[in-house]
Symmetry: C2
Subunit: 159 residues, 2 copies
């Protein structure tokens, strides 16, 4: 599979527009630019908080030869290169997003599973300092809010 069959038909113009940005991001992370990587990164741009499997579904539409393992491989390399962030909410397969480098958190619907980004709670870097760090050298604080999303609240209020 070569980069030249990356896109076809109506996706071509969009792909051409994005390609530079996506490609630059991958390249400047010190990774080789390949068709599966471009496809995964594009899919993730459109659909943040996706599972590997969901991304595989999107990617294989663009690039039919792509394997699920390739998607896992791409995501692993992106994650360790700091190009994407992996989140693992309880009870869910891992989710991935392109928004990295800021200290943002997530809010997850306990009913439908939808995930949204939320900015940090209190002031500058809230929750980044535990009451007592017990001698740990704390590097990160991960916050997940759980609750009912607006739509599921509305649905649960129906007769």
């Amino acid at each position: 599979m070569t980069i030249s069959n990356l896109s076809d038909g109506e996706g071509l113009r969009l792909a051409a527009a994005d390609a530079g940005l996506l490609e630059g991001g991958i390249r400047s992370a010190g990774l080789k630019v390949t068709a599966p990587r471009l496809a995964v990164l594009r899919a993730l741009t459109d659909r943040p908080h996706s599972t590997a499997d969901a991304l595989f579904g999107v990617v294989r539409a663009d690039l039919p030869g792509t394997s699920l393992q390739a998607v896992y491989g791409v995501l692993a390399s992106f994650t360790s290169a700091g190009l994407v962030r992996k989140i693992e909410p309880a009870g869910s397969p891992a989710l991935f997003e392109r928004r990295v480098g800021d200290n943002h958190h997530h809010i997850v619907c306990t009913h439908c599973g939808v995930v949204h980004d939320v900015d940090c709670a209190v002031g500058h870097a809230p929750c980044l300092t535990p009451a007592d760090a017990l001698g740990f050298d704390v590097r990160a604080a991960e916050v997940i809010y759980w609750g009912l999303c607006a739509q599921c609240q509305a649905e649960s209020a129906l007769p």
Copy 2:
């Protein structure tokens, strides 16, 4: 397997002392009191932040006939009865603890995986209010701090 072969030998006195408390806890959660449930609850008292598998290892020493699935079943019933809390740190199998009902969080060592409880960060119920809840009815905030524990810091500083 009956409750009568719950313990033997030197564990008997301790078991007798605990049995009332453990039994009362299970019963008042509306669950039947069984040998596997007592054994799991006792194991969890001694070793908070254990996996189902680790608890299975402890329980089968007391109660050799116990199956791993029984341990999963016991933990599921305890969790939904509010008798234990299940935590699922990224990259780890689920951990269980008896400390419930308070809003405490966890600090996990990125190197050795050890988990400790930490009280809430700032004031009363910090992090319980996101900057913007996006219409969600927020019910819980889960905070996990990641860092190097004191021992792993010491070991990484060696020649």
